[in-house]
Structure formats: structure tokens, C-alpha cells
Subunit: 343 residues, 2 copies
Amino acid sequence: MELSQRKEKILAAVVEHYIKTGEPVGSKTLLSALDITVSSATIRNEMAELAALGYLEQPHTSAGRIPTNEGYRYYVDNLMGVRPLDESVKRRIEAGISLKNASPEAILAKASEFLADMTDCAAVSTTPSGENATIKRIEFVPVGTRTGMIVLLTSTGVIKSKVCRSDVDLNSSMIEKFYNIVKSSFLGLPLDDIDTATLQTLVASMGADALTMIPFVSAVSELAQEAMRTMVMLGGQSNILRYREDYGTTAYELMDFLRRGEPISQLLANSKEDFDVKIGGENKFKQLENSSVIMAHYNIDGDNRGSIGIIGPTRIDYASLIPSVRYLTDLVGELLTQTLNED
Amino acid sequence: MELSQRKEKILAAVVEHYIKTGEPVGSKTLLSALDITVSSATIRNEMAELAALGYLEQPHTSAGRIPTNEGYRYYVDNLMGVRPLDESVKRRIEAGISLKNASPEAILAKASEFLADMTDCAAVSTTPSGENATIKRIEFVPVGTRTGMIVLLTSTGVIKSKVCRSDVDLNSSMIEKFYNIVKSSFLGLPLDDIDTATLQTLVASMGADALTMIPFVSAVSELAQEAMRTMVMLGGQSNILRYREDYGTTAYELMDFLRRGEPISQLLANSKEDFDVKIGGENKFKQLENSSVIMAHYNIDGDNRGSIGIIGPTRIDYASLIPSVRYLTDLVGELLTQTLNED
DNA sequence: GTTAGCACTCACGCTAAAAGAGTGCTAACG
DNA sequence: CGTTAGCACTCTTTTAGCGTGAGTGCTAAC
């Protein structure tokens, strides 16, 4: 649907004014905000048409207009000025997420926290997907007479460790056997190839050693599962209270939604574009029907590996937050790539 | 201050009714809730005296009474029936926190989450203090030509690991040197002995090797710091919205308070008793002035090592939640002790 | 197509009145 | 003297009424 230039100007002004104030905006207010030499009546006519087209709505008959989700969508797609990010903001973001010698998890946790503070929204991020990751290294460290620690390192730089317990006293031949199994069956293996089926054939092939090795082998498998699971890092839940009225009764549902990692990682993984904006009910989660999500995906070594996003009310400041989220996400990608390739 | 038996009955009834409904309770309501054969006028007289003593107050002249913080305090200390926990509740708690083969962190995170769900409050827990912990084991695992992973295990079962980078290519003699340093200077050392002063003397004593060893040694020190830092596990922030009206304007402050770990760990560490209840402003944090905290401390091998607590409105259901928190905390202590001693 | 003008709608704020809940006090009672 | 019935009193809450103002939609003229 194409709009006349004047309609676009008006729509943009309504959206921007409503984002700023949270109040319905009327024709006279627009008149002064707009550098257009028409009367308020004309604006009223235009607004009536915009309402008929579904871009604006009235809370009640004698109030100003507020944007519908479609209105926001049109604004984001066509009207929003994509001004480049201010240098000072860039600097601030760079400073905000710089962490030396940190694990991917720590970097992303920091990014969520920082993004939340910067945007006054709730922020989420997912750790790099383990989809294409392989097992880079497995180490066994004896700890007690029957316990040892298994450490697993993936090609994506994720470290997972676990204490595991043997049914019999440890001895050096067992450990040697374990390393043999590791070398022959685990090293270099994609994480998602380690399912129960593979494990069973592996255990079967071990013959007499199977009994003593099972705890170790299954520990490795658990670690692989853990390393593969994308974690969701959360920040700024308290910011939901900041826009409480905008969320209405869904505020609680929203908070509750945030604490469950699974749906969030679905939400973030759902879009394949470089970045994505979901306005109100555009995403399938009814807990988010009064919220908008701005998300971007970061790349590691050129591969799309995870996402960072913010969740705010539908009247979120798209124009200035979208570039920030994108910039920060790109930066995180670079940071992770760099951390990973520092051999 | 001793109260007559009848006053105590009335106070208890007011507290319990207000906890249940959140509405000020009047003399007639009490009459039916109480199995006392007196008139409402008598109750009014008693309530007036209780108000004069500071245990009750009126939101306004013609409303019923609500408990003051002192009222809650008297109730918790003297009136609250300490009925033993229901078997089914015990069962539920046991099921809720059972995790096999889990790290202390995971157990405590799960405990917070579960406790929050069970009590409809925000729940917090702290990981075992590293105060008396020593370094049990340090392992170096080469990963790349110049990077290696250092793994540290403490006597309290905490595992911390970190990838660290050398300035020169790794070789076996360096690794051997590192293990020598570890053996002579780190193993068995209390975590809190590892400060910058010790490190400097250590580095100084290394002579020519100092330059190449510094990254590793300082990585160990960072890991020790990390292992010593008590972490705060959070659960159920969304439950704050559940009692929003009770928190009043402090709801946001409360949420914001929760996300900072430091003050919470102070709050929890502050009490030396086995368990503790802080009502309203009894704790020093003004963000909690409309909240009550129920906390208990868990022991590992008989030592007080950490805490678990819930934070709710002052009209929290003390009688039924206190035993739950205590039971769960004891259980977590047992679980951690057991996990730790399973050599 | 634009604009001035005007009637109309509806939320909002204010006031007044009525309802309701609950108290405190007084006087009588056992 | 503690207890109780009765009642006046206080203060919140609810309801209704009414003007005000913001903002619209429509019509007729430009």
C-alpha cells in the first residue's frame, strides 16, 4: 500500500510523537510539530483516511490518534530515518561490552546487561549455537579415589566441565582406556552427532570395559548436550516496570515469559534475516502481544550463530534503538570471532 | 512486652486475616473468625489498646486495623503456630531440588527457582562461601599453539576454568614448569591467601621464567578470585508483580535491588542465626522497607556456608513459608555435603 | 483539494449526596 | 470492673450530575 507523501509525513509525525509522549496525538498538535502549511482540518481528513487504512486508531471517539501495529510497521519499513549511529554512542557501546579474557557466556551476559541499561528495555541474548560445533578436546582429571573431573572444550570455545563418579577405584589403565575411547570416538565429532544411539553402539563396542567406562562416557555425552544447548542470557527485567502501563495486564505474563529460556530462543532463532523487528502480535507468542522485539544476529567466522535483542513496549523508539542493537550485535560477533581465533 | 492471652488471640487473627486478604480487618470480621464469646465492642477496645501499643494501625480513621511491623514481629516471635511441615510438602520440596550429578551452582540455581515457584515470592541463594576453601587441583590443558585452558578445583567442589593465552608458543618444558609452580605454591593454599602481594613475591621468585609464566599464574589467581566470590542465584523476579500493590512504589527499586548481587549477599550474610526473618525496615536496605525476608543458612560438613531466602511483601505467609524455607535449606545443605564427600 | 465553521462526542475533573464500613464513647448491665 | 448494646461520628467509596475542553467529522464555501 503506497501512501501519498503528505500522509507519510503525518503518519511519521504521529508515530514519533506518540513514542515520545505516550499520549494520543491530535490534529492541532501535529500542525505545530509539522512544517506543513495546511490547516488542521486537512490533517484531520488525512488522519481519518490513515485510520480507514488501518494505520491509525482512536482510543475513543474524541481523542487523538495512536498508531496501530500496522502503522508502526509502515513506519519502520518506509518512514523511519536510518540515520547512522552517533560516534559517541558507538564509543559508549564499545566501552560497554569490552571484556578481556572472557568466555562467550560472560561476553553475552554482559552484552544483555549493558543493552538493557542503555535502552531501558529488557534485553536477551543467546549463546552461540552448537549446531556446527565439534569436540576439540576432552580431558580427564582425577580428583578423588573414585571421582574425576571431565572437561570438554568445543570448537566454538565453550568449556563445560563436570565431576563424575566411577563405581570402582580409578587406576591408570582405566584412564588410558578412557583417552583411547575419546581419541577414537569423540574428538572432532560434531556435537549433535552424540545421541543415545551412537552412545549405545559405542558402549557395545567396548566389550568388557563397558561397565567401568559407562559413567565417563555418559558424562561426556551430558557435557556435549550442555555445550550444544543455547543458553539465554537475560538483562533488565526490572525495566518492564518502567513501561508498565504500556504492557497493561501482560506485564506479568511478559516477565514470566522472559524467565523461561526455551520460547525466547525460539523467538530469536525464528528469523533468518540479518536483523528483525517484530511489532506487537507479529510474533506468535501471545505474551508479547503488547511488546515489540528488536533483534539482530551475530556471526562468528561468517556463520550466523546467535542473537541479541531487546523487548519493549510497541511504542519503543525504533529509529534510535534499531541501529544500536545492530551495532552492538555486530560488535559482539567480532569480539567472539576474535576470542575464538586467538590460538 | 507481654500481652494478655485474649490480645494475643486477636493480634494473631488480625495478622492472619490480613495476610490472607490484604484488606484491613474490622471488629465484626474478627468476631466470626475468632471462637471467642465476646462482643465486637470488646474486641474494639482490645484493638484500640493493641494500636496504642504499636502492634496495629489504621490506614484511616474509619477503616479496620492492619498489623504494624512490630505486630508482625510479635506474631512471628510468639504467636505463629510452628506446625511441622506436611509430609506431602516435604515430598514436593525433595522432588523439587533433586538433581543428580550437578554442580553446587546448578543445585542452588534450581533451589532458587523452585522456591520461587513454590512460594510465589522472589527467591535468592548464595553459593558456598570460599572463605575456608583451598585449592584442591589445578590442571593445564593445551588447546592451541599459544592457548591453553586452566582448570581449578576447590575443596568445596567448585570448578572454574578459563582459556588463557601465552605470549610465546607453548612447549612441554613450560608446562612442566607451570605444574611445578602449581605444586609448590598453589595446591592446598586457601583461596583467600592468593592476593596480589603473594603473587608478586611468587613471580619474583621465578626469575627468568617469570615472563613466560605470568599469564598462567595470573589466570590461576583470577580463577581463585572467581571461585571465592559468592555468587547470588536469583529466581522468581516476576513474582514481584504478583504483589505489586503491597510493594507500592518500591516495586521497581526492589527489582533493581535484586539484580545487583552484592547487597543481597550482604543481606543474607548479615545474620548469624540458623535462620532469620527480617520484617520491613528491620534490615538496613531502604529498597526493602515494604518487604520481608525469610532466610536460612545451609551447612556443608557442619560449617555455615551459604544462605537461601525468599523476599516477599510484609504480609507474607510467615507461618507456612518459614518451615518450607528451613526445610529446603537444610536439604540443600545435605545435598551439597553429600555431593562434596562422594570421593 | 483545501479550509473555516460548527455541531457533536466523550473523557476528565469537580462537586454533592448517599451509602457503607468501622470506630470511639457512653451508659447500662451482671 | 469488665463487658456490652447503642449510637453518633468519621472517613472512604460510590454514584450522579454537570460543565469543560480536547478533538473529531461533516458541510458548505472558497
